[in-house]
Point group: D2
Chain length 489, copies 4
């Protein structure tokens, strides 16, 4: 995990094609790997948001009337650039976020896949046309909505921005990205590389900041649509505040994803998948599996999960969590569960990594005999921790899953087609896994949860996102049928 | 216009398959045709909304798990029932709303078309499935959102409810309809006929009332989605209040639709179409053409429009407006325009219909030399009135159109393919007409405006509505590939 | 099974909206139920085909330019008519084909479902339009191909014609139907009811006859497309002869469908499903299961299959086979298998039904220990007979299935998701069943086999059929951008 | 036009990833630019076709089971390679075909666009899945057909192979390409670059040859699908011979494309477009405009066309025709038209280019007062020649267009929306232009003519091609609903 030689650029805003910094307030950025300060991020003010919106509005006229087949060419080139710079982009993600290099590479690869989807857009957004009555035709076209905003979280500094950038831009919108103030560096490189790929100035802008800028985005009359990814608490605030300004809004929040493990599950496949699902990205993903419900006797599988968990080594194949506060919060959840009677099978508390003693590490943690009423069973822990509950039937397991306020993901491990289908039908979650613990849909399947995991209509990626980023224009056409027939006279 | 023998049923709520009335407050319903009281409508309270939501929730489990191919059969039968009872349904619409019988027939015919679209749903909502990586499949399904509400306006007592009922129900949702308290009678018949068609109790419910119930719907935690059609003022309130409760909402508001008339327009076709567009349904439609911009010399066309307008006779081929207040408001707009310097070419003020002296009639009104700053040029008049402005170029005409806060519809009359395309591209409206003054999209093309004419994502009818009425469930599937191969041992 | 009071109409051709009979040759139609002659069928000549083509061509101009939203209305009415006359239509099918009344009802219900799909067509065939470069738009429309022909087999006198009629006609084509000369009566009723539903004369025509007319259809220069359903032998002839005349052709042939039964299969569900799959419609369907491959020890399931088979009673819940020749052929296959070493577990030979002694009945027959090289394992038997082979692994079972020259359907019975997926992936057949022995796709999923079970591109029903029945018209549009801008001068 | 330094590689077959030459027969390849021999092409025998089919079959198993998201990555890289080598690829096209460098560049750019479409395929070919009745799901998947063949013509040595290669391969098929024996060099480079992009050996193969190999392809039992582009005469032969072998076939033939010019057409835009349409690629494209019908008085436009034609200079902005025979045939058509009474306004006969005296050049030729019965009005000339006919009405013009046996393209030049729509509706051609003389659809709109310009179902590019290159697999799924519920016991 030696990324020390990596150059971390100075963080600025990116407005109208230029990196600028008009604000005096700023905040330190610390690498979770070793606690070292690596950069500082400007905390922008309304004035800078105004500049960005103006730049976006100015660019919109030309960009929105550029044929989509031209717009996608920029993203074909951008994909190639990301592929060429994959390692460097991943190293940057690792540095500011703390995840492992392999996880960071996988993250950037997902950005590439999201960009490929956007490159396909000319094949996906053709309008419709039909004769609907004698001599009358109807047609329907998708038109960009205008200036849009995307607010991103800390856990995927590169990927989550790509949930929105390629689709929104290819569809003709201009965007203001507000990265997490904890991981603003990757967005700098995104801006640079989009420019290198040929994106006209003003089409994409980055405004750094914290809560003040988030609120300003929700309120700004020049912004037509707001997308947000973060905690449920803030997702609610953003959804309500944006829509109160009559905007459209899609706000993705947190999660408490359940894995239902059946006794007929394939033991090895299940154990390695469950472990990866709970510990990947140090559990800091909204798709992390943090609750497991064992149905019947699954002790043999739990035993294998513990074996697998012990192979997950902080600083090696397990990254850091984002901050000291985060580490403390995760450990507090474990300790409280223990006090409440749960049994810690594998304990990740009090972990340090040699040579990175100031980094924020929590080891993989497996807790059995958790009950549904414990905090660790209900709340989002966002750490490499799995809380195991026990049930005697599928219905009981589903009832635990259904009881969650969230609804991002739910999985089942089984070899039975019938049980798989029952869970798929009855789990109250937007993303279901059959023998897959982190059922992130690949493109063109869209990403999005249910219940308190998402507010708004539709999903943020895939075909569903097209509607969010466009307005529908319907045209009815009739021509005078008695046109002149003899042109000789 | 003899509908006097028509039986007007007592207006009640319809909850869980039963007509009930648990409220003491009520309001008189007056027929605009002759000012006579024809019924009275209960003003429901929270208790009745609660009952309706409970009935809907109770029905949801069975209804949502009924295969869609079974659900549509009810709507096939319902279509046939509407066809069989077309005249009676239209007479009811005429009675409570005041429009002509022909207009009422056309309205119910549109309800039928909307129902046909919903019958096609099994062909439209199949999920997707694909192998996305070795041994891993992704699939996507559309699932109903739950209990939904539809709030309807007075101008289309039968059609607007059908913008939402067939699609929402066929997709597996249960609904609470809140009709306009001015025209609640048609909804009674809708409920009866859906039941006759075989719809299970509780799937569709009607709760009558006014503002109090609208607010209660926005707030009710048991309702997942709210659709609204009415004025922009109330649309904003409903959008903000529903989304503040974290619901999804689609709210359609008012309009100020512009007709751009070019000098190369076909004179007869244009004149008759413009006149129908402004006077149809007495101008009480959000698609009514109430502003016209003539480009260049179009005096010969205006002259023909006046001729056509004079053939539109109140009480014969022109219906009543909804209320005394409405009549007064419309006439006030005309008078103020006159005072401001506009020229009344055809004057519909002070109109009475022999034998129906207490009805609310305004004659067709053509006003020339209106300027864009007059109230009549900017505000929604909702009467059979057209305000003509003059421009010297397409760009000037489009600039007037673009200046409107609304964006429901805009049309151009021309014989030129180039001009038609320019207006289609540049008008800032959701629905565009080429030589069509009321460009209501036919199914499957969706209905919906832009700007202050609609709040939310997507459209209320057509393919776009599918996303509004469903949640997307994404499933990732992997099976243990090393299944036992020798079954003899 | 008392259908004796049923009126069987005189069989004629139906040309240009009139029932006519211009031929002298005819053939007796015998009911398989009791061997009684019920009608006779004209064997038409070229002259009558010419008349039909001329009638169709004459009707094409108006029909093809009728908006599709009008065309579907006829089929909505037609659906209602079929529902109203369901019993009578089924009785007719039973009479001429010999199947049970329940089977005949299910057949007509499938005709209704196929018609519903066609009613959805306005939602499915809208063209596409998009700006493809600056100022240039492309659009694509589906246009009818012209006069088309549909040649139908004896086993589904009502349903198979509906595989083609509703879709082809709704899409704007005019059709000539050639029913099987063994079961021409149902087509008479189809013609009558389409006319009653409002179909214009000449759009649909019926020409009866045998091989001579089939060949004439393939050769006729006025027919653009030919669809055929029947035996593989004739399917090949029709495919080659039609395409040699430069027509498009889709020709569906016979089948040898395999059921793979795993030892983990649910015994009761499997036994009843297998039995129904082999004996339904007396095995006279191209989807009939006639070969079964048991993997591992499935003796307990075979035993249950035999129990189920014994509950299938000729003349009660098992219909007749189409002819004396057919009965003899089926019994010959059984006898030869027995001679070759197979074991007859349930024997349906030498069956008679009391009171219908001249009918053609074969009882349900279960044969175990068949080997893949026996004729009964390779050839289409078209009777209520199942030949059971044994295998020790999925791969061996799939290898038997893959070895068939046909490829209509293949099924697996298992509770394992992994095995189900393996069979779905690896079976070489167009239609796969997971725990379903007759995996006929419901609409909008299309019907069609692979290998020698179908010749041509795409499928005969569902979305795929749209391309077969239409030509694609692509239009590129550009308007002079420098249109006059100042209309005052 | 100096391409003399270009390295022309030795032409070989490409089988199983290797360039090989096992045949003794060969033929000289002459550059039309200057008549010089630039290479020779092997005339392969059955033995080599067999090797290629075997190589393709061997590759099919792995390739067809490679997930489509992996398959497309090769084509993303291939697109980048074509962009990097654009000039060299174009120079090669110019050398062997004789067209101008700009035309050759445009040709390769279209290859790139076709490849982009194929890269979008994961977004386009997802299967469908839906619950069709209680507990029963249907799904549909697209599966590759196997080994397919593509036979290409001389006029677009690089583009026409790309009509089929990217789509067929991305969809999982393995292909044998048979380039025109006149221009086999570009296909060598295609093979090299596909390999460089990572395509596994055997997936794509090239077999050179003439008629003998074409016939062998039609007959070979290991080839499942045949696509052909060339003359109508050979298209018919290939269609009949392939289908007689029970294959699917799509065969594109020649054309006689009509331009209808209205007196209201924009004179400059029309004249330059008409001239480019008839002289581009020296008229050697199936989309070339070779017949023009003037409606009413269009003398002023014809005069401008002549002016434009005179600016088209052989050897400068007009390329060579493919061969000496071709040049002679074109000149013969002109001379015969002259004899028959037509008037040669611009005469391109007897053209030579200084320094390239042995090249095959015909100058742009405008012929007025042609009548529909002249050979030049009916037959495909395939040279830079336009035959002008006169008509007094749109109907007369359309009747001339409709009279053609071909139906590739037809265009109208007008400013009227009404006339444009009439021509779009009534012209009997697969591709229509509104103010565009060569209405080649851009992706994703498909390419394909009507009548004698194409045999088979669907189009060769775009969405329609998906069905040609795949088989539909339909699966019906049911799981035992009574799965064990208490797992404790």
């Amino acid at each position: 995990m030696s990324t020390t030689t990596l150059q971390v650029p100075e963080v600025k805003n990116y407005i109208g094609g230029k990196f600028t910094n008009g604000t005096k307030k700023s905040m330190d950025i610390v690498s979770p790997l070793d606690g070292a300060t690596i950069a500082n991020v400007p905390l922008s003010t309304m004035a800078e948001l105004n500049s960005a919106v103006e730049a976006a509005q100015a660019a919109f006229k030309t960009w929105s009337s550029t044929p989509i087949k031209e717009r996608v060419q920029i993203f074909y080139r951008y994909k190639t650039l990301m592929e060429k710079n994959l390692k460097e982009l991943a190293a940057l993600v690792q540095k500011e976020n703390g995840k492992t290099l392999d996880e960071a590479i996988a993250e950037v690869e997902k950005s590439i896949e999201l960009t490929e989807y956007a490159c396909s857009m000319p094949q996906l957004v053709a309008g419709k046309i039909m004769e609907v009555s004698r001599g009358v035709e109807c047609r329907l076209d998708h038109k960009p909505v205008g200036v849009v905003a995307s607010i991103a979280p800390f856990n995927f500094p590169h990927m989550v921005p790509h949930w929105t950038i390629p689709n929104a831009l290819v569809l003709g919108n201009c965007m203001i990205l507000k990265p997490s103030e904890k991981v603003p560096v990757s967005s700098m490189r995104i801006a640079e590389m989009l420019k290198e790929a040929g994106l006209p100035d003003g089409v994409f802008n980055v405004v750094n900041g914290d809560r003040e800028i988030v609120e300003a985005i929700c309120d700004h009359p020049g912004i037509q649509a707001v997308s947000f990814v973060g905690s449920t608490k803030i997702a609610k605030v953003v959804y309500i505040r944006s829509t109160s300004n009559l905007k459209r809004c899609l706000a993705l929040g947190g999660a408490k994803n359940h894995l239902i493990v059946m006794p007929d599950a394939h033991p090895d496949m299940t154990a390695s998948n469950v472990t990866a699902s709970m510990s990947g990205c140090a559990g800091q993903r909204c798709m992390a599996a943090s609750a497991m419900v064992g149905v019947g006797n699954i002790d043999h599988i739990i035993s294998k999960i513990c074996d697998e968990a012990k192979k997950v080594i902080p600083g090696k194949n397990l990254g850091a969590v984002i901050s000291k506060e985060s580490k403390e919060r995760i450990e507090r959840y474990i300790t409280e569960a223990e006090k409440a009677g749960a049994k810690i099978l594998v304990d990740g508390r009090n972990t340090t990594v040699a040579g990175m003693e100031n980094g924020y590490y929590v080891g993989p943690t497996v807790i059995d005999f958790v009950t549904p009423d414990m905090a660790i069973a209900k709340e989002e822990v966002f750490g490499p921790v799995i809380a195991i509950m026990r049930a005697s039937s599928i219905d009981e397991a589903l009832s635990i899953e259904n009881g969650s306020a969230y609804g991002n993901a739910a999985s089942v491990f089984t070899q039975s087609g019938s049980i798989a289908r029952q869970v798929m039908e009855k789990a109250s979650a937007g993303m279901i896994g059959i023998n897959i613990g982190v059922p992130v849909p690949r493109e063109p399947f869209s990403f999005g949860g249910w219940n308190d995991s998402k507010f708004g209509v539709g999903d943020i990626t895939g075909d569903s996102s097209i509607e969010f980023w466009t307005n529908l224009k319907k045209t009815s056409i009739k021509w005078n049928p008695e046109a002149k027939t003899n042109w000789m006279s």
